[in-house]
Amino acid sequence: MKLFEIVTEPINTNELIQKVEKREAGAITTFIGTVREFTNGKRTVYLEYQAYVPMAEKMLAQIGEEITSKWENAIVAITHRIGSLDIGEAAVVIAVSSPHRKAAYEANEYAIERIKQIVPIWKKEIWEDGQEWIGDQLEKTSYQNGLPKMEKE
């Protein structure tokens, strides 16, 4: 069973939930990032995701380690899909279990923020009149002078 995975097929949310279920857990949170039809008023026809697969899986596992060091007893599973995705399809699913709910929410949100910082995955938006590779990071920070921020404070 792989807790951190890049896949090309549709993601099964239930499988991720099963990966983190345990008798000690009282709370399981999931996050499903889906392909939205409109971004900044522009209509997306579909998305194309590309990854540096082996490194992306390593970085997902690193996020998992960061989480278990911050939230004791949390268990995390993350699957990111690549390839062509239609509107409404899930690009990423994150499942976190924890004995307490607060940690399950916090750790889950931490995971998606970190994915957007350090995991080598790229998204191309295809519109009716063009297409573009998106660099979310670029809008906020440039990391041309060093490592991406490795820890969120």
């Binding site: 992306a56 990111h80 990423v92 790229w122 660099g135 990391y143 002078n145 060093g146 490592l147």
Partner: protein
């Protein structure tokens, strides 16, 4: 020899996902400069570099046999 992996807009620009470079020792900074000048990859300046699947700093050294990935700003999730 150093293998350079390209992704996203850089891959599309060169129509290649891989560049084998006859180099022995080069810093990350020097490699980025080289890719910009030789291949016109101007956006390499805003990219991170990973050596053998780990993020590297500008002064880190790349050796023959290394797999070097040019990582433009990521947009997963």
């Amino acid at each position: 020899m150093i293998t350079v992996l390209l992704f996203a807009q850089l891959q599309e620009q060169l129509q290649k996902d891989k560049l084998p470079l006859e180099m022995d020792r080069v810093s990350v900074r020097e490699l980025k400069e080289y890719l910009k000048e030789e291949f016109g990859l101007v956006r390499v300046t805003e990219a991170m570099v990973a050596i053998n699947e780990a993020y590297a700093l500008e002064d880190d050294e790349i050796k023959s046999g290394d797999i070097v990935a040019i990582i433009p700003p990521v947009s997963g999730g």
